[in-house]
Amino acid sequence: MTDNTRLVHELSRELRAPLTVISGYLETLYDTHEEWQAPFDRMIKQSNRIDRLLNDLVYLTRLEEAENEAAQVAKVDIAAVIQMVTDEQRLYHPNKTFSYASSTQSDIQGNGDQLYTAFTKLLENAGENTAPDGCIEVLWHEVNGTRVLCIKDNGVGIEPQHLPRITDRFYRTDLNSDGVGLGLCIVKSILEHHSACLRISSEFGKGTAIECVFKLE
């Protein structure tokens, strides 16, 4: 473990104890003080955000660490992973349309849990950034000698000035969102582990297409 990773892990462990105390009392206060519910609710949400930030940060340092080690690699049925992630997101957004099609061979050498995490983050983003009746198309197919997972939505899109920095650590396009700015950074890191790359194209107001491009084995 590098010093950096150790610091992140220790820091997150040390912060979780006080966070547990703070959020625990806040919930009890929320339940017992009706006139203060709105502010308590905001405080609870912010402490949840610190928790998510710590989780993502620990996960990210772990990934970076794994780069130097032999990561756990096995045969992964990637179409099945995508199917599962799509099904799960459908449950969270029952009014949105998620379509899924797979048209290429689906086994790759990789880490199934990491891929599950990456695809979940991408589909969560797509689900959150579309209108209540939005459409998300998921496609696993072959393009010019590569295999590509394409996730296309008809959501709010990303303004062009954000695109070059969107996978940077702690970069957030919307400062008022609940995000912590590490999601795409994690996705990118996971794809790099699989010798794959991330391509993002977006038209503001119309939607976003995200592609994970894998080499043919």
């Binding site: 979780r16 104890a17 547990t20 402490s47 099945a80 099904d87 449950l91 969270y92």
Partner: protein, 238 residues
């Protein structure tokens, strides 16, 4: 009605007091212990109905406490919920395999903790010989081998039936894929763990497509990231 007694085993006083305050507000009676030895004394002397156990007690003593409990028939059946730090994925599995009944990760929601405590107390009070399970409009009848949603029988495969039966008998408890394999498929078969995912998907589909119910029972089969699955009617927290 007698208040249920909960033993809180946690070495950090601030966390222990917070839990105590929340649980007392919810009508529980609380006992406290700062280490495993004190916890064992309280278990024997005060017979709590449930134990909340911090996994990070010094020197792996949380795990030892559970092992010691399991050897002592007078306290072996007291249900245990572990409090873990989220960074300890492996410990979670280890903990569930060693005899803890459920776990929550710090920082946890006290509402969720209370719901888990209640579910676990309900479960340990009801006999395990139940032949029918019900959760809201979802009903499983072991005599006819049928599953009903709002009193209408649904189509469900035999493996999915067994899987649902297992989940409904163990509401609100998280299981690893290998625990699900052992319990639903039987311990001595060699099946890839990912097989569980396939049947989970079919089960969710069977529950979702069924009837005109306003509730999507597929939602109740929840993925516990890095661990496995859980059946719960509690609101999903991302």
């Amino acid at each position: 009605m007698n208040a249920k007694k909960i033993l809180i085993v946690e070495d950090e006083i601030a966390i222990r007091e917070m839990i105590r305050t929340s649980l007392e507000m919810a009508g529980f009676e609380c006992l406290e212990a700062g280490d495993a030895q004190d916890a064992h004394i309280q278990l024997v002397d005060n017979k709590p109905d449930l134990v909340l156990l911090d996994w990070m007690l010094p020197g792996n003593s949380g795990l030892e406490l559970i092992r010691r409990m399991k050897r002592d028939t007078s306290i072996a059946d007291v249900p245990v919920i572990m409090l873990t730090a989220r960074t300890d994925e492996d410990n979670k599995i280890q903990g569930l395999n060693s005899g803890a009944d459920d776990y929550v990760t710090k920082p946890f929601s006290v509402r969720e903790l209370i719901a888990r405590i209640k579910a676990l107390l309900r479960r340990s009070a009801s006999s395990s010989e139940n032949s029918s399970y019900r959760m809201q409009g979802l009903q499983l009848d072991d005599k006819s081998h049928r599953v009903y949603i709002d009193d209408e029988a649904i189509d469900i495969g035999p493996t999915e039936y067994k899987l649902l039966r297992f989940f409904m008998a163990n509401e609100d408890r998280a299981f690893s894929r290998s625990q699900i394999l052992d319990n639903v498929w039987g311990g001595n078969v060699y099946i890839e763990e990912r097989t569980v995912d396939v049947h989970i998907r079919r089960l969710r589909n069977a529950l979702r497509r069924a009837g005109t119910s306003p509730i999507d029972y597929g939602l109740y089969i929840q993925t516990v990231r890095g661990t496995g699955y859980r059946f719960s009617s509690l609101v999903i927290q991302k």
